[in-house]
Amino acid sequence: MDAMTGAVTDARTDAAETVSDTMRERFASVTSRLLDEDPRLAVVLAEIGRDGFADAARRHPDRVVNVGIREQLLIGVGGGLALTGLRPVLHTFASFLVERPFEQVKLDFGHQGVGGVLVSAGGSYDWPSGGFTHMAPGDVGLLDTLDGWTVHVPGHPDEAETLLRRAAAAGDDKVYVRLSVQVNEAPRPVDGVRFLTLREGRGGVVVAVGPMLDNVLAATGGMDVTVLYATTVRPFDTATLRAAIGTGGAAKVAIVEPYLAGTSTRFANEALEDLPHRVVGLGVGRQELRRYGGIDEHLAGHGLDPHSLRERIAGFLGR
């Protein structure tokens, strides 16, 4: 697999006898079609991902803009486009979309009072051999310091398409869509608002975010727990979480996220503030592993492989 180009050889869609595309490829194809349909949409790139938009750029030279390797300008241009009434869609790796130009995200969208869609690639460690410079486990946590960002974390290219279409059509909302090469085997019918209830049990609630679902399902096999699937994490679906909490005893909630561990713990605590409860946040650790290798090795390195997850979730629920 080559995470730089997003090319993936994947046999997981054998049943449908189709060749699966990546989330990034789906982003380019879907957004290119949306550019044809919606004159308000504009795409801004900073070199990364430009090949996927080559045809769209020929059809819409004024609405597909590549600013070069200039990420402060990437965000500022997005804010400027929005000031004229367009709906900008900005794309690069998460490290360079959210972390490097964070003050531009804060001011050129939030403070100016305009909206746009930030679509990231690379996630926490989509390209492990690229090292820590291309890892952004803190992206969602950073956006949590700002007001009003919707955050979608799809776990499958089909879900990415649904959420990208929803984001493009979301008026002047500020929306972050976190694409990854980490995917689940099958898509779920996500709606861009609610968590889905995939299993029901009495021993606790496990919330799996986006690409963590398959590992969570494997880890909790045979356990008497409810499994919720979250692909839209901001706003946090308080109602579904509360409905999943049974009556009697203290609620137990484990949240398994593909980014920084504990990012959503505060939101679960606030959802349950009037009830006795315990929450554990599992995700990517803060400490750099300083390892290259593959995604599965990094998942294991952060205790997010099915075996580690089963031990950690069972340990938490059994306490």
Binding site: Q72, G80, Q112
Partner: protein, 237 residues
């Protein structure tokens, strides 16, 4: 703390009245060069160049003026009040909790302000996006003007924007640099040279000479963005 009074203050509309309007904010009718470094250039722009008025302040086809250097906005507020974008009796509240007029402008609070600024280096990238957005909607008439300070050019984001705008010939974009020699590591001629190297049309003028400013603002620059470097008294002179 001062409060906006309910007594209407008549808005004078000439350049000579601007010190009076600034005095409503500062309680001082005589201002040093730093407070007025932008005053002449702003006045000439709003009085003779920009096609925008209170009646067209939200019109899609208006010219845009983006004050990137948000520090010391008294001259900007005075010009906007003189031109009727908001009542002059807002001015005495300057900086107060209930006032829309902060020490850095907020576009959500100030009629006529195209951007909120204060953090340096945001206006030029926003201006590039504004020019691109207007072009994408077929609006080739409106001009986009961004005011920055010479020391503000220290911020790297400006260089991302000016390099891109020059290379792509974004000719509806204009930058007004108020040069009061406030950059610690600036050098004479350095500002114009940077814009020229990036492919901009550049004029350097006396920032107190209204005719020279008007001529520089109005100079044709086909196929290239245009920068006007307006030199005024050194900040620390």
């Amino acid at each position: 703390m001062t409060h906006a009074t309910s007594t209407a203050i008549a808005a004078p509309s000439g350049f000579a009245e601007l010190p009076y309007l600034m005095g409503l904010m500062t309680g001082d009718e005589k201002h040093g060069p730093a407070a007025t470094s932008t005053l002449d250039a702003l006045w000439v722009l709003y009085d003779r160049v920009l096609r925008v008025s209170p009646a067209t302040a939200t019109h899609p086809g208006r010219d845009r003026f983006l004050l990137s250097k948000g520090h010391g906005p008294m001259a900007y507020y005075a010009v906007l009040a003189a031109k009727g974008f908001f009542p002059a009796d807002w001015l005495p509240g300057f900086g107060g909790y209930d006032s829309p007029l902060g020490h850095h402008p907020d576009r959500r609070l100030v009629p006529g302000a195209e951007i909120g600024s204060g953090s340096l280096g945001h206006g030029l990238p926003l201006g590039v996006g504004t020019a691109l957005g207007l072009r994408a909607q077929g609006r080739t008439e409106p001009a986009v003007w961004v005011l920055i300070g010479d020391a503000e050019l220290d911020e790297g984001s400006n260089h991302e924007a000016l390099a891109y705008a020059g290379a792509t010939g974004l000719d509806r974009l204009h930058t007004l640099v108020i040069d009061n020699s406030s950059a610690t590591h600036g050098r004479p001629g350095g500002i114009a040279a940077r814009f020229e190297a990036a492919g901009w049309s550049v004029a350097t003028v006396d920032g107190r000479n209204h005719e020279a400013l008007y001529e520089a603002f109005s100079a044709p620059h086909p196929g290239r963005p245009h920068a006007v470097v307006a030199r005024v008294e050194p900040k620390d002179a």
